[in-house]
């Protein structure tokens, strides 16, 4: 530990022209990180971390020397947390509906109070009514004055025309000029200078737009929390191995059907995971319901030529009774209860749901009903997967509005969310309330239960504001997705490729967004309807060409061209 601090101090000392703040930033990093790594990581990891940190500190030192020292607007303490001089910052963010019985504002959270104290800032939260984020967002937009910061992807989800339009309409504040080693050292370290994430932080006009965004996943932790799970006992009854190819799947599902399993495969319409996570479509190299990039060429899954093969296979499964016929109308919990009631053989669902819906109520007390995880199927053994929907990237975008009274303070505030102290606060909450430290020194997030005391519950994390998640694969497998089949799900999926997934960092222009507004709704309606009909056989595949023709008249090619243009601009960023 000491070695690490010394190394960092040396690194800092070597760059003499380093401004006070840059230096503070890197050394503070070491301090806080030391604490965190002592908590979570094994000795080996700590060593690896310290090496990494040293080089990063040296790097960032050089950068700030290049850009020249700028005067820091707010002083930082030894943890790199800025003193915001009692400034008030107003924040719009949806409120977590699980807490409505004890609180109605995040300012009641101990995490927030601690942040206010550490940063010498006053935070005021505005929340839309629970479950009415869209309406609340529009009301806020129609109001006289916007809050300083809008969180939780409000702009992306609810602003018509998206980010580009929001800047064009002068809703958002352009802070690009404020981004430098002095003002935002942590943002630069965690995102801007990261080779994988850096590109996603810009829009096509060269503006930096992702300050405060959450970093999800990491190079070693790029997986998906989606899973295809099979009842182990039913699989053993068939005498087959865990299926790898689509043909293996057909064989296994048919064998299960012959063994009397009512619904060999259950999927639902609620989370629509089998579609949105490309559960079976990735074998055919198509996205089940969205745009993707095949070798630089943007395609729309339901319009791609190979999509017909995918649908034909699903239709074959449906007709043979291998797919639960209620897949369009049943809810996620229906699917899990079919698994629990010995009616279903395999399920495609989110693995987080598995714990409350299956592991705790069923499998824990009844180990015969254990599940095994299957990888995304392929057509021929050894085929690469290109379309795993990964958790890796930026998420939970935060925006500073044009009405912000002190945008500089907002910039410092958002950057400070990346400091280890605050990042941990938001990710885990308060010790012994939001999380407990177990015998291995790992932070275990307290399972939310309404029976806990108010004080404990208000000490919980605020995931919606946090800036880091799921970056440590060992932590995920050992402490977060650690029940029953969960770690296995992650293991089988972690090597799958995601190179064809449409990049989230690509941004659309205002004109492109207008096309989307004009065509997308009708296309979605038509695709949803026809896909369901082809699968159930209500529509014959003889009409497949007519279906594609109709899509064309609905404007699908315009949208593909728009997404292509956006992708090309994204690709051309350095």
């Amino acid at each position: 530990m000491k070695r690490k601090v010394v190394a960092l101090l040396l690194a800092a000392a070597m760059t003499i022209s380093l401004a006070a703040c840059g230096g503070d930033g890197s050394s503070s990093d070491s301090g806080a990180d030391t604490g965190a790594s002592a908590d979570t990581d094994t000795a080996q990891d700590t060593e690896a971390n310290s090496e990494e940190d040293t080089t990063q500190a040296a790097d960032s030192g050089e950068e700030s020397a290049d850009t020249g020292a700028t005067e820091a607007l707010f002083e930082r303490d030894e943890n790199g947390i800025p003193d915001l001089k009692g400034e008030t910052i107003t924040i719009w963010i949806p409120f977590n509906g699980d807490y409505t019985d004890i609180a109605d504002n995040y300012s009641q959270w101990e995490v927030v109070q601690k942040m206010e104290e550490l940063m010498n800032v006053h935070l005021e939260f505005t929340h839309p009514a629970i479950g009415q984020d869209a309406e609340g967002f529009s009301l806020m937009m129609a109001g006289d004055k916007l809050p300083d910061i809008i969180m939780y992807g409000g702009i992306d989800n609810y602003y018509q025309g998206g980010v580009a339009a929001a800047y064009a309409d002068e809703v958002l504040y352009d802070y690009t000029d404020l981004i430098n080693e002095t003002n935002t050292p942590y943002f630069m370290e965690k995102i801007l200078n990261d080779p994988y994430l850096g590109k996603d932080a810009y829009d096509d006009e060269g503006r930096i737009i992702r300050l405060g965004a959450m970093v999800s996943g990491s190079e070693e932790s790029c997986t998906t929390m989606f899973g295809i799970m099979i009842r182990k006992d039913y699989l053993e009854d068939t005498g087959l191995d865990v299926p790898v190819t689509i043909d293996d799947w057909t064989e296994m599902l048919t064998a299960m059907k012959e063994n009397g399993v009512k619904y060999p495969l259950v999927v639902d319409n609620e989370g629509n995971y089998w579609q949105t996570r490309n559960a079976f479509s990735s074998a055919y190299g198509v996205d089940a319901n969205g745009y993707y990039v095949e070798d630089g060429v943007v395609q729309y899954g339901p319009y791609a030529p190979a999509y017909e093969d995918y649908l034909k296979k699903m239709n074959e499964w449906y007709t043979a009774g291998l797919l639960c016929p209620d897949f369009q109308s049943q809810s996620r919990s229906d699917s899990w209860s079919q698994m629990a009631n010995d009616e279903a053989g395999a399920i495609a669902n989110h693995t987080w749901d598995y714990t409350p819906s299956y592991y705790l109520p069923v499998e824990e007390s009844n180990p015969d009903k254990a599940l095994v995880a299957a990888d995304l199927p392929v057509l021929n053994e050894g085929d690469p997967i290109h379309l795993m929907v990964t958790n890796r990237g930026l998420a939970l975008y935060k925006y500073i509005t044009a009405d912000a009274t002190n945008p500089e303070a907002c910039v410092y505030f958002l950057d400070a969310l990346y400091t280890d102290v605050i990042s941990d606060l938001l990710e885990y909450g308060i010790e012994d309330k939001g999380y407990t430290v177990n015998e291995d020194g790992a932070k275990i997030i307290t399972t939310l239960s309404k029976e806990l005391s108010d004080e404990v519950r208000l000490g919980a994390r605020i995931y919606e504001m946090s800036t880091a998640s799921d970056y440590d694969i060992d932590y995920i497998k050992n402490y977060k997705y650690c029940n029953g089949v969960q770690p296995q799900c992650i293991d089988v999926l972690i090597d799958d490729g995601y190179d064809w997934i449409y990049p989230d960092g690509a941004t659309l222009t205002t004109e492109e967004s207008e096309d989307i507004a004009a065509y997308k709704s009708d296309i979605d309606t038509y695709v949803d309807e026809m896909v369901a009909k082809f699968i159930t056989g209500a529509e014959s595949f003889d009409n497949y060409e007519t279906y594609r023709e109709t899509l064309k008249t609905l404007g699908v090619e315009t949208l593909i061209a728009d997404y292509q243009a956006a992708y090309d601009r994204y690709d051309a960023r350095n």
Binding site: Q160, V171, P325, Q328, A532
Partner: protein, 306 residues
């Protein structure tokens, strides 16, 4: 002059029935706030509305949103479905409570009458979300209604995902849900019929059927007409919740109606102007239907709303 007369009369009436006018105030406020004031918002149907720019600051686009809607490949489908579901509910659903009230009125066992009434009111008090999940459960592959229908007919598979069955499911469940509650007003009307009429008829030797069709039914006609006109006025506003909760993409061909389309445009795609245009079209058609129904009723039955 006329206005002056009106004012004096009004002032006099105000002094005489002050309490009634005071009771009127909340109702007025309600209508002004929730029915008239929002009408100003219809302006956004002619704009490219952006909440930040507001109603007055957004760009005018004229009739573009309406033209887009009329040209949409789904225009005829959703109009047709809306009319189908609403006329279907009206034609099949409207007579039910009338006959129910008349028949139940003939039952002399008071206890039995009360029990039946309570049972038929019940579905009215259950929220739509629960009603709809019940319906979905019953008409899914395993649902008991599906099993029943499939045994007695050649139908196979779930009913709820069959586009041919959607209208029947919607209308039949609508009748089940509402006929008990809607019959209340007819019960009230029947109880106000002069008992002497029945007495006189009985003395003249009229049978129960004759009394039902010659006295009860004709006495109910004004009530029936008023309710019918009011129903016509709501014809385009088919309960959107129900259609939304019961529909799945595969049944869009029969289940997608104007209001679910508006929902997808407005709240899924945030396309406020477009969805306001569609909603406005809906209301205009509604108003036309109401006017037609009213004038027809005026002509044929002498009872009308205005």
């Amino acid at each position: 002059m006329k206005f002056k007369n009106f004012l004096t009369a009004f002032r006099k009436d105000l002094r005489k029935h002050a309490a009634i006018y005071i009771m009127l105030i909340p109702v007025l406020i309600y209508f002004v706030l929730f029915c008239y004031r929002p009408m100003a918002g219809l302006l956004i149907a002619f704009e490219n509305y952006k909440p930040r720019k507001g109603i007055w600051g957004s760009d005018w686009v004229g009739l573009k949103n309406f033209i887009n809607f009329f040209q949409s490949p789904f225009f005829w489908r959703i109009v047709k479905n809306t009319l189908w579901l609403s006329f279907g509910t009206l034609v099949f659903g409207f007579p039910f409570p009338i006959f129910f009230a008349i028949l139940l009125n003939e039952v002399k066992n008071l206890r039995f009458k009360k029990v039946v009434q309570t049972i038929t009111y019940l579905p009215h008090f259950i929220t739509m979300v629960i009603i709809c999940s019940l319906i979905i459960q019953f008409t899914n592959t395993e649902g008991f209604i599906t099993t029943m229908v499939n045994t007695i007919s050649s139908h196979t598979g779930a009913l709820i995902t069959d586009e041919k069955c959607f209208r029947a499911i919607y209308i039949i469940s609508e009748i089940w849900q509402t006929f008990g509650w809607n019959s209340i007003i007819y019960f009230a009307a029947i109880s106000s019929i002069d008992a002497e009429q029945y007495e006189a008829a009985r003395i003249d030797g009229a049978s129960r059927w004759q009394m039902m069709f010659k006295i009860t039914l004709p006495e109910l006609i004004p009530t029936i007409m008023i309710l019918l006109i009011m129903q016509c006025g709501r014809i385009m506003s088919v309960g959107w919740e129900k259609a939304f909760l019961l529909q799945t993409p595969i049944t869009y061909n029969t289940s997608d109606i104007i209001s679910t389309y508006v929902y997808r445009q407005g709240f899924v795609e945030m396309n406020y102007s477009n969805s306001t245009a569609v909603g406005m079209f809906n209301s205009v058609v509604n108003l036309l239907l109401l006017t037609v129904a009213n004038s027809l009723s005026k002509k044929f039955t002498e009872s009308s709303l205005w």
